[in-house]
């Protein structure tokens, strides 16, 4: 998972201001952002394999799960459909982060099996069977950040460029309208 963060200033303000002068321009900006998010979402869903990543990863939930696993829920079943449905895009601002930024567009990976597939081995190489599982995942796919983050790491330059370009256009449009308003 990359630590790089692309910060674009003024998306919210520009959109809000643009709606007063040129709603089409605001829609175009939003459309670019939403399209990029949708592309990323779809690409992330494609990262989810139809078959379980490993042969022992069952596709049905355990009837009598071990109570010591995941709070008693047992090991999550590999349901590629559910995992893909759990990958969604959002434009919610969310909480303010430590760098005083909020989200302008993000992907969620919400299912338990999807999260395991995404982050297994990210912090520690694991121990025992876990270590072996992480090793297999790393060999068959890639190291941790195998789902949504893999897509973002891969497509970040394009996403940034497109959104940046749309923002520039929107700001130009806004500036033109403001100048027109000033006379």
């Amino acid at each position: 998972m990359a630590n790089e963060v692309v910060v674009i200033s003024g998306i919210k303000e520009t959109t809000a201001a643009l709606k007063k002068f040129d709603k089409d321009a605001a829609r175009r900006l939003n459309k670019v952002i939403n399209d990029e998010l949708r592309l990323a979402e779809n690409a992330a869903k494609e990262q989810i394999p139809d078959k379980p990543p490993m042969s022992g990863w069952r596709s049905v939930a355990p009837k009598n799960p071990r109570k010591t696993t995941r709070g008693g829920e047992g090991w999550p079943a590999w349901d590629p459909q559910a995992i893909r449905q759990g990958i969604i895009k959002t434009r919610s601002e969310g909480r303010v982060r430590a760098d005083y930024t909020t989200s302008a567009g993000a992907l969620f990976n919400k299912t338990a099996s999807g999260v395991i597939f995404e982050v297994a081995g990210r912090r520690t190489p694991g121990q025992g069977t876990g270590r072996k599982m992480i090793g297999n995942l790393n060999d068959r796919f890639r190291k941790a950040s195998r789902g949504i983050w893999a897509v973002i790491d891969r497509d970040r330059p394009r996403i940034y460029a497109n959104i940046r370009s749309a923002m520039d256009d929107a700001q130009k449009t806004l500036k033109a309208n403001l100048n027109k308003e000033k006379g």
Binding site: K12, T101, A106
Partner: protein, 775 residues
């Protein structure tokens, strides 16, 4: 966001939420900086204070150490000079030797110098003493004893006593003891403890001691440098400060005594003043009770407390002088070398500060005494006649307390008495106002009478007040009724006319007669425009069958009563205009307000006769009704007696009210109704004729039988029963058969027989009237 979900931010932005959070964090950071700065400042302050304290301690300790070292050096030098004849150079070299020894072996010079002095003295050689000091150091280290004990042991060996060394572990044989070979013993001792001092000096403990010695030496060096300065301070203290203080005491001691004497005199004088004042007040307490309370509250509370406080301050100040004097003695001792310099300085400083405090306290006491003195003058109580002594004053204090207590009690009692007196005075004044002159204002009976009179007056006033309130309420209710009536009137005259039916409805609704309704209606429309015209008065006078003046008067009263009551101005105005007394005005007002019609208020001549005639007709109607006669048919005069009733007689009298319209004669104002006054009668009856007819009517008080309709008077002499002959039995009568047994020879026998029979019937349950029993 789902719990446990992974979130991958694609695009982030700075938003206002982030800006606000940043601002909060910046503020928080600023506060943290401020807090940190405060903490650092505080820490630095503590460090600075600690450093200062440490510096002071070092300074004090160095001076003390320098003084002690200087003493030790002096004693050693003196001993060496006396015992070995050492020169100053040798003594100075010895100091260097001692300094080196102490730094090397970790033994303080204060221990080395006595040991060296002792050993040099015993050997009479400074060089031998220095050598033996080294041996003593080894013995001390090897034998684990202090240097003094080791030195004593060596010294004793020099004197031929080896026991101490043997006790310390030197293997001195008996042969050696017997041979008294000092060199052999010393050699054996040196061999036994060889290197012990050096070895001990290298231990951690003694390395620390050596470090401490080095530090102490540094301090002594510092102290030695400070000593000249302190010596100069001593010189100033001895030659300047102490003599100055002594001079101050010598010169001001008498003044201090004088101040104290004055204070004591003031206390005594002031006590006499208090005694005099309160004695005077107690004597004239009835007059000065208030003054006494004020005096006790203000004078005693403020002035005396302030003075006592000042005296207490003086006592404390003199106590402090005593303590400071001890400090001064300490300073003097220090100046002569008997105590540390620090204590001396502190003592002098405390003494000086105490003197300053004493001055301030004494000044305050003098000020308070001056205030007291001036206060005494203001009160103008003379003390000239007072020749008592202090003992007398003290004895009187207990009595004074009692008097004060009495004064306090009397104050409360007299306050109540004052209130009663004031009430009595008021009562007497009230009595005088009513023309009552009390013969004796202290007579309890008269006072009680006056008080009761006051109470009565108050009750009367209260009653008047309540009456006024009720009158006002009644007037308000009447005003409300007037408003309702006016509203009703507006409703019924909406069609610009008032019908007889409407008059009847209003009469029933208002609870007054139809005449009153008509009068009220005419009046209300006459006065509702605020002025009474001559035309309206004339019209109403005609309608009401009164004179124009009476109609005018009625309308003016009516207008004045439009608010339900009469004001004083209105009463005076009406009384003046109509030449009435206030009571007559009130009577007229009440009647008019009660709905009395003008015709009833001022009955026309002959109305009384008409009324009697009407009453007679009413009686006749009742009679006809009681007799069961049909009133539709003309009544045939009774054949027995009386005069035939007039033709056209009807048992009921109707007073028609014809509706009027605008433009009709008598119409007043836009909606004023035309009212037809009741016509007395159109018959040919006269009053006297009616009276004659009544006088000729048969009266049936003695009974009689009537076989045809007859106008007659019944009940004129008491209750009568009129019973149809054919219904005698059914209407309560019964047949009583009386059988008389035996002969009846006289009327009395017959009466008795009948009475007995009636009583017998009564006993059998028959209803027998009392009249019958009274036969």
């Amino acid at each position: 966001m789902a719990i446990g979900a992974v979130v991958a931010r694609i695009v982030t932005q700075y938003s206002d939420k982030g800006s606000k959070a940043a601002a909060r964090d910046i503020n928080k950071l600023g506060k943290s900086f401020d807090k940190f700065a405060g903490q650092v400042s505080k820490a630095f302050g503590l460090a600075a204070a600690a450093s200062a304290a440490f510096a002071i301690k070092i300074g004090v300790d160095s001076v003390k150490a320098a003084i002690a070292d200087e003493k030790s050096q002096t004693l050693l030098a003196n001993s060496l000079k006396n015992t070995t004849g050492a020169t100053d150079a040798a003594i100075a070299a010895t100091e260097l030797f001692i300094d080196q020894i102490q730094r090397t072996f970790g033994v303080v010079d204060d221990d080395l110098r006595p040991a060296l002095a002792k050993l040099s003295s015993v050997t009479s050689s400074l060089a031998d003493g220095q050598k033996l000091l080294g041996l003593a150091l080894d013995v001390s280290a090897g034998g684990s004893v202090d240097l003094g004990s080791a030195t004593n042991a060596v010294t004793k060996a020099l004197q031929g006593n080896y026991k101490a060394l043997r006790n310390l572990g030197v293997p001195i044989t008996d042969a050696m003891v017997k041979s008294k070979d000092l060199n052999a013993v010393l050699a054996l001792t040196a061999k036994t403890f060889a290197g012990a001092a050096a070895a001990r000096a290298n231990t951690f403990e003694f390395r620390m001691k050596r470090l401490a010695i080095a530090f102490d030496e540094a301090k002594e060096t510092l102290g030695t440098a400070l000593l000249p300065v302190l010596e100069e301070l001593f010189t100033v203290m001895i030659t300047k400060v102490i003599p100055a203080i002594q001079t101050f005491l010598n010169e001001n001691g008498n003044k201090l005594v004088a101040v104290m004497t004055q204070a004591i005199k003031a206390i005594v004088g002031f006590g006499f003043a208090i005694f005099k004042v309160f004695a005077f007040v107690a004597k004239h307490k009835e007059v000065f009770v208030t003054l006494g309370a004020i005096f006790a509250a203000t004078f005693v509370a403020s002035k005396v407390i302030a003075f006592v406080t000042a005296i207490q301050g003086l006592v404390k100040a003199y106590q402090a002088i005593r303590a400071a004097a001890i400090g001064a003695a300490a300073a003097q001792a220090a100046a002569t070398g008997g105590i540390s310099v620090a204590a001396a300085v502190a003592g002098v400083a405390a003494f000086t500060a105490t003197l300053g405090g004493l001055y301030l306290v004494t000044k305050k006491a003098n000020s308070e005494m001056n205030k007291l003195e001036s206060t005494g003058e203001d009160l103008e109580f003379s003390f000239d006649g007072l020749n008592g002594t202090t003992e007398d004053f003290m004895k009187s204090l207990s009595g004074l307390n009692i008097d004060l207590g009495k004064a306090g009690k009397n104050t409360k009692a007299l306050t109540a008495a004052d209130l009663k007196l004031i009430a009595t005075q008021k009562a007497l004044a009230a009595l005088r106002k009513f023309g009552i002159k009390p013969t004796n204002e202290t007579d309890p009976i008269q006072l009680e009478a006056a008080r009761l009179n006051l109470v009565k007056q108050a009750n009367l006033q209260e009653a008047e007040r309540v009456k006024a309130i009720l009158a006002n309420l009644e007037a308000q209710l009447k005003a409300n009724d007037a408003i309702k009536r006016y509203t009703d009137l507006l409703g019924v005259v909406a069609d610009s006319k008032i019908s007889p039916e409407e008059v009847i409805v209003l009469s029933q609704k208002w609870g007054i007669s139809k005449d009153a309704v008509i009068a009220y209606t005419g009046a209300i429309f006459a006065v509702n425009d605020g002025k009474i015209s001559t035309r309206e008065v004339g019209a109403l006078a005609t309608q009401w069958n009164v004179t124009t003046a009476q109609a005018q008067m009625y309308l003016e009263f009516f207008a004045a009563l439009n608010d339900g009551k009469l004001s004083d101005d209105e009463i005076n105005k009406l009384a003046t205009k109509w030449n009435l007394t206030n009571k007559e005005v009130a009577d007229y007002s009440k009647k008019i307000a009660d709905g009395v019609t003008p015709s009833a208020l001022w009955p026309a001549p002959g109305d009384a006769a008409a009324k009697s005639w009407k009453d007679a007709l009413d009686a006749l109607n009742k009679y006809v009704a009681a007799s069961g006669a049909k009133i539709e048919a003309p009544v045939t005069p009774a054949p027995v007696a009386g005069t035939p009733l007039p033709p056209g007689f009807k048992p009921e009298v109707v007073f028609p009210v014809s509706p009027i319209k605008p433009g009709d004669s008598g119409f007043i104002g836009p909606v004023a109704p035309k009212v037809t006054t009741p016509a007395p009668s159109t018959s040919n009856f006269t009053t006297q004729g009616l009276i004659n007819k009544l006088n000729r009517m048969p009266m049936l008080a003695d009974g009689g039988i009537v076989n045809s309709p007859t106008a007659a008077l019944i009940g004129e002499a008491g209750p009568e029963a009129v019973i149809p002959l054919n219904r005698m039995g059914s209407m309560g009568g019964s047949t009583l058969n009386i059988v008389v047994n035996g002969s009846v020879t006289s009327e009395g026998d017959l009466v008795n027989a009948i009475r007995n029979a009636i009583l017998q019937g009564q006993n059998n349950g028959q209803a027998i009237t009392k009249t019958a029993i009274q036969l």
